[in-house]
C-alpha cells in the first residue's frame, strides 16, 4: 500500500489543528490545553506509523493488517478525540458559523449518527462484512479498497470514542451507566470475535497461513483490550469530574447556592 495519500491527509489535518491552536493562543490570547495538541500529534504519528511499511517481508501478513487495524481503528482515534478538535473548531469559527455548526450537531440525523450503538454497529458490522465476504481478499490487490477500509475504521473508531467520552460536546451521549454497558458489550464482542477468528480462521480463502491468522487473532484480543481500557479510563475520569463538580456546587453555603431563591 502506498502510504503517501493517507500520510498527506492526516498530516494536513494535524497542521490545520495546530494552526487553530496557534490562532487561539497568539491572536485571541485564550488558553488551550497543550496536552490536547500533543494528543492530536500522537494520534497522527500512530496513523502514519501504521500506514508506513517498515519491513518489506511482513508487509503481506495478516498480523501486519491487524496491527494497522488496531492502531488506525482503535488507538489513534481515541487520542484524536482527546484532543477536542470540535471544540477547537467551534472556537475558531465566527459566531454565526459556530451557531450553525452547533445546530448541525444537534440535527436529528447527526444525533442518530453519533449514538454509541450506531458507532458499535459500524465498527463490528464493518468487520463482519470485511472478514466474512470476499471484500478482504479483493482489498489485497486493490489499493483503493484498502485505503477505503482503513478510512472506514478510522471514522467508525473516532465516532465510537467521541460518542463514549472525551472533552468535546456530543449530541447524543447516553447516561454513564448506559455507556458503561455499551463499552462492556463492545469489549465482549471484541474478545469473542477474536476467539472465533482464532478457531475458524477467518477471513476465508486468503493466502494467509493458519499460524499467521492465529497470531493476528491473539493480537486483536489483547490489543483490543488496551484500546478499550483507554476509553474506559476516559469514561470514568469524566464521571469523577462530574461528581466532583456536583459536590462542589452542593457545598456552597445555602445563601450562595446557584438558583436558590
Amino acid at each position: 500500500m502506498n502510504p503517501f495519500l493517507p500520510t498527506t491527509l492526516i498530516l494536513s489535518l494535524a497542521l490545520i489543528y495546530s494552526a487553530g491552536v496557534l490562532r487561539q493562543i497568539l491572536w485571541k490570547k485564550r488558553i488551550w490545553n497543550l496536552w490536547r495538541l500533543a494528543s492530536f500529534w500522537f494520534g497522527t504519528a500512530l496513523i502514519i506509523f501504521a500506514v508506513t511499511p517498515l519491513h518489506q517481508n511482513d508487509h503481506h501478513t495478516f498480523y501486519h493488517h491487524m496491527q494497522q487495524h488496531l492502531l488506525i481503528g482503535m488507538v489513534a482515534p481515541t487520542f484524536l478525540v482527546m484532543a477536542a478538535p470540535i471544540s477547537l473548531l467551534l472556537r475558531n469559527l465566527p459566531r454565526r458559523g459556530a451557531k450553525a455548526c452547533v445546530q448541525f450537531l444537534h440535527s436529528r440525523i447527526i444525533r442518530l449518527w453519533c449514538h454509541p450503538i450506531t458507532a458499535l454497529v459500524l465498527n463490528f458490522g464493518g468487520m463482519l462484512v470485511l472478514y466474512l465476504t470476499p471484500l478482504y481478499r479483493s482489498s489485497l490487490h486493490q489499493p483503493w479498497s484498502h485505503h477505503f477500509i482503513h478510512l472506514h475504521f478510522l471514522l467508525a473508531g473516532y465516532l465510537f470514542a467521541w460518542s463514549m467520552a472525551g472533552p468535546d460536546p456530543a449530541p447524543s451521549r447516553p447516561g454513564f451507566r448506559d455507556r458503561l454497558s455499551i463499552l462492556l458489550l463492545a469489549m465482549a464482542i471484541h474478545g469473542i470475535s477474536s476467539k472465533l477468528m482464532y478457531i475458524h480462521l477467518f477471513p476465508y480463502a486468503t493466502p494467509h497461513s493458519q499460524a499467521d491468522i492465529q497470531a493476528a487473532a491473539q493480537l486483536m484480543y489483547y490489543g483490543g483490550d488496551l484500546a478499550e481500557l483507554l476509553i474506559a479510563i476516559l469514561l470514568f475520569a469524566a464521571w469523577r469530574k462530574h461528581i466532583g463538580q456536583r459536590a462542589e456546587a452542593s457545598s456552597y453555603p445555602a445563601s450562595l447556592a446557584p438558583g436558590d431563591p
Binding site: 462492556l184 469489549m187 465482549a188 464482542i189 474478545g191 469473542i192 482464532y198 478457531i199 483490550d225
Partner: protein, 150 residues
C-alpha cells in the same frame, strides 16, 4: 450522570480490585508464563466462549472502576484501608472459587492444566486456595466491623 452504587460501599473498590487482580494473575501466570492454560483449547462449547468473552470484559472494567471509586471515596475522606483489604481478599477468593467451580467444572471453559493424568489435585488446590483467600477477607471484614460498629 447517575450515582455509581459502589461509592457508598467501603469494601466496593477492594472487591473490584480483587476480581481484576485475580483475573490478571490467571491471565499472566497461568496462561502466559506457565502455559498451563491455552488461549483456546478446542473443546469449549459455544456458550462457554460467549460467557468467557463477557467475563473477560467485566474483569478489565472492574480494575478501572475500582481505581476510580477508590479515588472518589478518598476525596470524600471515606476510604478505609482495612475495608478495602477485606474487599480485596473476598473479591479475589470469590472470583477464584467461581473460576474453579463454575468456569472449570460446570461450563468446562478450560481446565487448570492439560496433559496431566489426574486433574483432581489441581482442582483441589485451586479451590482450597480460593477458600483461604475468602477466609482472610472475612477476618479483615470482622476487624473493620469491630472498629466501625454499626
Amino acid at each position: 450522570m447517575e450515582k455509581f452504587p459502589l461509592v457508598n460501599c467501603p469494601t466496593g473498590p477492594g472487591i473490584l480490585f480483587g476480581i481484576g487482580c485475580m483475573a490478571a494473575v490467571d491471565e499472566i501466570i497461568f496462561h502466559q508464563l506457565l502455559g498451563w492454560h491455552h488461549f483456546y483449547d478446542l473443546a469449549t462449547p459455544t456458550f462457554g466462549l460467549l460467557s468467557d468473552g463477557l467475563l473477560h470484559a467485566v474483569e478489565l472494567l472492574a480494575l478501572i472502576a475500582g481505581f476510580f471509586i477508590f479515588l472518589e471515596q478518598r476525596r470524600r475522606g471515606a476510604a478505609d484501608i482495612i475495608a478495602i483489604w477485606a474487599g480485596f481478599f473476598m473479591g479475589a477468593g470469590g472470583f477464584q472459587l467461581f473460576d474453579g467451580t463454575i468456569n472449570h467444572k460446570i461450563l468446562k471453559l478450560h481446565q487448570i492444566r492439560y496433559g496431566v493424568n489426574n486433574i483432581l489435585p489441581y482442582d483441589f488446590a485451586w479451590n482450597v486456595a480460593a477458600i483461604l483467600l475468602l477466609i482472610i477477607g472475612v477476618i479483615f471484614f470482622a476487624r473493620y466491623r469491630l472498629m466501625h460498629p454499626k
